[in-house]
């Protein structure tokens, strides 16, 4: 390995990360801009955050988004975990090919198609569009992401642990809750967080399946962006980024702690 290669490597990483992060940093910086013009710096100010909290429409939308996110992520995590178990443990049942197709296809399906098809379903069965339909739509497309995340953990899971528990007489359901679940829990938690952020983020599917009174935050931001770029939207975006970033950091610290604890336990087990 000669030095020119590693210098090339470092340069590409630095440039790549600058490309990934610079737009977000600029967006955050200009949310503290005194001037109404987004791109001309007029001094530091937090007035856009103040006006944000007086914008009733935006606050309502935030509340709708938070509720849709929590409910859909929770249901999607349960369904996605079941789907992941099905994919890894039941290799032979009728319609398995169709099932795995239905789990993987939504990952890459253009959102306009998913949104339109779900809307037409809701109209066909006579469901009024609103909070409930957005939640159902979000459960459907996020559960597939949960399934993939949990599945990758299940694949690397040491099944002899389960077999040992069952040999010792634990019934399958009990084995699942006492052995399997604690092991795959980190994946389930990150699956939940992924589902929550995907729901928080979604504009297209929500626009199709939502109705009056259930405007989500991305829909609100989108309709304001179309009218023009304002520092107030920058402020709203900054808060969203902060919420997600704090969540991700807490989760990764918790994950790291658990990992260290696990290593300590293993060492103790080997010694004792």
């Amino acid at each position: 390995m000669n030095s020119t290669w590693s210098r090339f490597n470092i340069t590409s990483i630095v440039l790549g990360f600058a490309f990934l992060y610079l737009p977000i940093v600029l967006l955050i910086v200009f949310s503290f801009n005194e001037s109404k013009l987004v791109t001309v710096w007029g001094g530091f100010s937090t007035k856009w955050y103040v006006s944000l909290f007086h914008n009733q429409g935006l606050m309502d939308a935030t509340w709708v988004t938070a509720r849709v996110g929590v409910i859909s992520a929770t249901v999607a995590t349960v369904l996605g975990t079941l789907a992941a178990i099905t994919l890894t443990r039941y290799t032979r049942f009728r319609g398995r090919v169709l099932f795995s197709g239905m789990v993987f296809a939504p990952l890459v399906m253009p959102e306009v198609i998913t949104g339109l098809s779900l809307l037409l379903l809701f109209v066909a069965v006579g469901l009024d569009r609103g909070f409930f339909t957005v939640t159902l739509a979000h459960i459907t497309f996020t559960m597939c992401f949960v399934a993939v995340v949990v599945q990758s953990r299940l694949v690397s899971f040491d099944r002899s642990l389960e077999e040992a528990a069952m040999d010792l007489g634990a019934p399958p359901v009990k084995t699942f809750f006492q052995i399997t679940l604690p092991v795959i829990l980190p994946a389930i938690i990150s699956g939940w967080m992924l589902a929550f952020t995907l729901s928080l983020d979604d504009l297209v599917i929500a626009s199709f399946t939502s109705g009056p009174g259930a405007t989500t935050l991305p829909m609100k931001i989108y309709s304001q962006v179309r009218l023009g770029v304002t520092p107030e939207i920058n402020a709203a975006c900054t808060i969203l980024i902060a919420v997600v970033a704090i969540g991700v950091i807490i989760a990764s610290i918790a994950n790291k702690r658990r990992e260290i604890q696990r290593q300590l336990d293993e060492q103790a087990a080997q010694r004792g």
Binding site: F8, S12, L27, V38, F99, P110, L120, V173
Partner: protein, 320 residues
């Protein structure tokens, strides 16, 4: 562990009939619940889209005439076949707008996929060659933007690319250009938006295949006198091919139907199929035509989606 020891019961217990029935019931439930959910909320909606694409626009709510309705019984259902009309599809082939939108979308997605690969490969390669201690941090840094809203990340570029935006300000203050560049509302802006938004999708699969690679192969080639670039094309690139394929599919397929990026960065002049479908639905309120647009878009994407599914299944097999 004490819990399990405490519940340790004679082995025969699990083989009693009620226990076996319970086990069968539970495992069946594990399969059935997500299966039915996806069947009802994923598969059936597509059938409805197809059905409505064959109906006609009507001024009512919902704005289309019913076709293949079971309300007339089975005979009515079959009689309905004669009333089916493919007008929407004929309309789509006659109007050059739709054909152009499909072709443009495919070309834009293909070019952006290649651009994303060119931008993403050095990053993934640099990460894979980085010291093992900082790799998890680098990985986290690639994933982090993925967690922030797509809409926000696209929105951030408007302020940069605008005629009086930050990029033009920078270039003009450096006296590189004298007139502001027009980037926003052009295809260039769409390329930038897609490369930026989908970069993590490309970097992650590339990284995972590059990280597994045995670099002593490259060293061996270089020791035998192969120049670094030759070694890259003969060894590194072929070995990373699974990652290249996975990354390209993950970028290409959603990019074809992309709506937010062409709408916010491309302006009204650019033509992409996701935007056409959206306008057909929300502005023209023509549900049957937008359904027909969706059906054709789905058909166009069937082959790459099947490739993607196959790649997923293969990865699953290897993981086991």
């Amino acid at each position: 562990m004490t819990d399990i020891a405490a519940t340790a019961a004679p082995l025969t217990e699990t083989t009693t009939l009620p226990a076996r029935l319970a086990k069968g019931f539970v495992s069946r439930l594990v399969i059935i619940i997500p299966y039915l959910w996806l069947l009802f909320f994923f598969l059936i909606p597509f059938i409805i889209v197809f059905k409505i694409s064959l109906s006609q626009t009507a001024i009512s709510m919902p704005p289309y005439t019913p076709v293949l309705d079971f309300s007339d019984g089975i005979s009515g259902f079959f009689a309905g076949f004669r009333e089916l009309n493919f007008d929407n599809y004929t309309w789509l082939t006659q109007d050059a707008l739709y054909f152009n939108a499909y072709v443009t979308s495919l070309i834009i997605a293909a070019i952006s996929t290649i651009l994303t690969l060119i931008v993403g490969y050095p990053i993934a390669y640099g990460m894979a060659r980085a010291p093992a201690t900082i790799r998890p941090t680098l990985l986290m840094l690639v994933i982090l933007p993925f967690w922030t809203s797509f809409l926000i990340r696209v929105y951030a570029w408007i302020g940069i690319l605008k005629p009086e935006g930050l990029l033009n300000q920078l270039l003009m203050s450096l006296h590189i250009i004298s007139q502001p560049l027009v980037i926003l509302n052009t295809y260039t802006a769409i390329f930038i938006g897609i490369v930026y938004s989908y970069l993590p999708f490309m970097v992650l699969p590339l990284y995972s295949s590059l990280e597994k690679m045995d670099y002593s192969l490259v060293e061996a080639a270089e020791d035998l006198g192969c120049p670094p670039i030759g070694a890259f094309w003969k060894i590194t690139f072929p070995l990373s091919l699974p990652g290249v394929v996975a990354g390209c599919l993950l970028v290409f397929i959603p990019a074809v139907g992309e709506f937010v990026i062409p709408d916010l960065l491309g302006g009204s002049q650019t033509l992409m199929i996701g935007k056409t479908l959206w306008n057909e639905f929300f502005s023209n309120r023509d549900w049957p035509v937008s359904s027909a647009v969706a059906v054709i878009l789905l058909l166009v994407l069937t082959i790459p989606i099947m490739f993607f599914q196959q790649a997923q299944a293969k990865a699953q097999e290897q993981g086991r």
